[in-house]
Amino acid sequence: MAPHELRRPFKRPAISDQQRRRDLALIRQTQQRSDSQNRARRLASSLFDLPSHSFPDACQADFPDNVDVGYAIALEQSPELEASSPTVRHLDFVQASKLKGSAARHWFARQLMLTEWMIDVPPNLDRDWYVFARPAGKRCFVVSSNGSTVSRLRNGSVLHHFPSSLPNGARTKEISAPSHVYCILDCIFHEPDQTYYVIDMVCWRGYSLYDCSAEFRFFWLNSKLSETGACNPPSTYHRYRFSVVPIYDCNRIGLHKAYTGGFAFVKDGLLFYNRHAHYQTGNTPLALVWKDELCSQYVLDTDSEGHVPAEQQVVLELQDDGKLTTSDDPPILFGCLEKEIIQKAGNFLRFSVIDECVRIVDGKLELGDLKFVGKANRARAFADSYSKVFFQYTARHSPLQFQDLIASLDPNLDENSESNDMEMID
């Protein structure tokens, strides 16, 4: 039993750097494991994971298919950003939010998921689809970050710049979220009650929901939005009210509720979302819009005075080689322009459809000869889509009717539908 050692550490830091290296490695591994898990659970924020700084020499990084080249174009047009071009696979939202003017419009104009018009009823409507009433108003992206909220229209231009109760949506004393947190909502701004109706959730608190099914996005939307106070009436730090739209399983009951039900908003047709589909920028056949006179004031396109023209009109994009195309990807060719007209043309041109020339071959619409009307409205960022042209055509001749939708439902699926509705509506 010798005397006991009592020497204490002297003039030394308590933690060795070796231990620190071990600890940091463990933290890194834990973080990466949790990232992998989240990816597996489709909760990843991978879309926005690039650092905020980057080097010019790595510019040539490849863009994956799902990223719109519009961003690259936007950057070329924006001299102040050229020095820090994107270097990575995914677009950085944080960077995009620094874009100004036309560059910003260009980028945001390509971020919405655009519905196709319903030309025929998709199979398994009742099993795989949701239906909800579309509020009448302007479709827009609402982004909250850095203590403010911005809404941008489909063409990318700013609608409102305002404080909101969304996470990081206002500069308030009590911090609602860490500064890097942001949200992106897909909304319709409804003028009469000055409310943003949220029809989809794209990012929430920095979590990307792009890779999540509609089923999950709607679930998340319904459980998350009200938590923030965004659905409260307007106040100093919350200028516009947000609201969710009741979403139904697309069975007989759900369809009737959406079609005939009364809502706080003016209805403009019905939206159909495939429950398995991810949020996809641009046109998608997995989100559809359908209208008739009963549920919408705007079934047939109007001209700038609000009158329905006698002949169906279409807006097409003029390509360099004189081809006239739709906004689809890949674009659908609807005609060709002669050289002399190209001279005076802008990008988007308006034409009248000549009914006698239209043919439907193997279920495909061919417009034949078109009558040139003039340049399209300057605010236009897109040509019409093929499905829109087709829908407008059938609406004038043999519209797809509500009865057709009901008739497509499987009568056996109705019984156990009620409970699911409640789940989603919250």
Binding site: P3, R7, S16, A25, Q29, Q37, L43
Partner: protein
Amino acid sequence: MAVEITQVLLNAQSVDASARKYAEESLNQFQDQNLPSFFLALSGELANNDKPVDSRKLAGLILKNTLDAKEQHRKNDLIQRWLSLDMFVKAQVKGCLLQTLSSPVSDARSTASQVIAKVAGIELPHKQWPELISTLLSNIQQQQSHVKQATLETLGYLCEEVSPDFVDQDQVNKILTAVVQGMNASEVNNDVRLSATRALYNALGFAQANFSNDMERDYLMRVVCEATLTPELKIRQAAFECLVAISSSYYDKLGSYMQDIFIITAKAVKEDEEPVALQAIEFWSSICDEEIDILDEYGSDFSADSDTPCFYFIRQALPALVPMLLDTLLKQEEDQDLDEGAWNIAMAGGTCLGLVARTVGDDIVPLVMPFIEENISKPDWRQREAATYAFGSILEGPSPEKLTPTINVALNFMLTALINDPNNHVKDTTAWTVGRIFEFMHGPTVEIPVRTILSVLLQCMKDVPNVAEKACGALYFLARGCEVVGSASPLSPLFADIIQALLSVTHREDAGESRLRTAAYETLNEVVRCATDETTPIVMQLVPVIMVELHRTLEAQKLTSDEREKQNELQGLLCGCLQVIIQKLGSAEPTKYTFLQYTDQMMDLFLRVFACRNATVHEEAMLAIGALAYAAGHNFLKYMQGFYPYLEMGLQNFEEYQVCAITVGVVGDLCRALDDKILPFCDGIMTHLLKDLSSNQLHRSVKPPIFSCFGDIALAIGENFEKYLIYAMPMLQSAAELSTLVAEADDEMIEYTNQLRNGILEAHSGILQGFKNSPKTQLLMPYASNILQFLDSLYNEKDMDDIVMKAAVGVLGDLADTLGANAGPLISQSVSSKDFLEECLASDEHLIKESAQWAKFAVSRAISG
């Protein structure tokens, strides 16, 4: 054999190596061939007073080693071996041992007492040898002092070996009575008193009940305090050791003795010889430890249910304690900074002062400042050094507001001293103090421009090794304080100079002294960590430099074992440095691609490093490869063939379990880097992981990460995990059962249990998610009810931490997500899908709530079909 055992034992200590070797071999043979005779022969040798002392001592030592081992698994084997030995053999061995206590040869007695304690350590928990303690106690009644002394020593060792749970209170009382009697001033034999005092030190753990009784405690304390005043130095020292032990075991019982103890300790610190004075200071350091722990745990407000209240002994003693400690600071030894093992009264006093500062905070500052002001500019280096050391010691504890005004003045003064003071010792302490300033006060509180500070430190790094090492340390903390994400770092303008200066230090001829080279590389690591976008290009240039250094160490040939050891150390440092660089450059997209050009060369070097078979180096290289693999992603595949043998080697390294643990982590990195391309290696990896899990040699801390690693593998290879299910699932199942059966565990056990649970849950998450959308999902159905039962039992136990809670609710979601409607009925029967899920949904913890919401979604979908 019995006849010649004496000679064999003597030969085993021979200077002749071959004789020694032969003797050792024949002893081993003897043990293997006839264990009972082996025990009998050795104990007989030890007990025989006619035998030479050297053979008796070795006989006892070998006996001791056949009863105990450091490694737990070997220890268990030895215990079982002894227990299963023939009753009569054991009785005879024990008889010899007890008999030896009366031997006139003190070495034989002392050896026997240790062996008796080892046997007691095995037998008492099994309710064997019940007469031992009474036999020993009756020994003490004997008149012969040497028997008394040996018996008291035996009681001391016994208390060290045996847990108090296996000795009943009646016997404890008798032991304590015997020990205290031996300590008493009426005992004239100093050997007896010393053995008794040392025995008390070990017996204190048994005295819980006695310390709760006022009269018994008073008596015990009086005897201890009296023993601190005996003329015999060793007894005084042993008595102070008892006081130190009492201060931590019975802190809450000390109130009424503190005044007396202060007087005793102050006298010892002032007048007594160093070994005693050091123990006296240690008493106060130990009280500080107690109060710091209590204050850490409860903050300043104590509720009625706090285990131990803080009695603020240090605060009360402060006015007298601080001057006492300050006095010790002036008793430095020349060149103490050059001696790694030095420990003297000045060092102990300063260390205690630092603890006092952490205990009382601001209150210490006014008591120390006059001392500093008076001494800091004195011609005698001892005074300048003491003043600086005092200042450095009190930097942790007091609030920045309290210290800031002084800091800026002091820092200015010290930067000058670092360059101009003629004394090495003063400069050493000054550089250390500057480092402490940055450690605790960094940031806006320091008014002096970083540039000025840096230029002084860089110059100081050229000073003698011990000073340069402290300067590196100061730079380490300065850099750490500058780690501000995003904004410009004040180090940036001089970044290249700093790197250059540190590299020069590593090349100094004398960098092996005072840990200088290590300090330089560790500082380099910290500087690399806090590089900003502006300075990462400089870090990029460092890559080939460090690789060349590492290459050079691998080329060195024909090294002596001493040189080889140094070479290994350097390789460890270089691999550590590369690891930090990989982490830095590989984690940011812009630098990653340029950096990854070096992967080929780097892997080549790492593989050669593995050939060196040194644990630390192995560990560092392994960590570096993990980081590299993650950065390289699928491209890492081409290195797998070459790397795999070393990965296997790491997974089999039971002895150096840190290496094993780190290798397991690296398997996870590889899974995430390679995804399903890791498949060809999985048979081997899984085999080793399963072996690791079933081994009782492997340190338990490695097991939770192995389970997590199952999850990593499953997530990477998806349904291909199928063939491992029959092995992995039962392991997970039995570990799960074990982890829910932890009754009355201490904090450490609860923490381990939660780590184990987290590992199990991560394994399940990975496996379930890995099988998602696979046609083979139904293979998991048979396990669903066990997994849910595990979740339910976790919920019922109520002792899981937040991390486990998040993982558990995540598994619930994964199960529902992957198995869907098939598991719907099972899920809806489980408590987890209701009460537990609700509890998680209501959690304040963001991550738990998030997982819970996801789980709710998956569960509702699975249940509704």
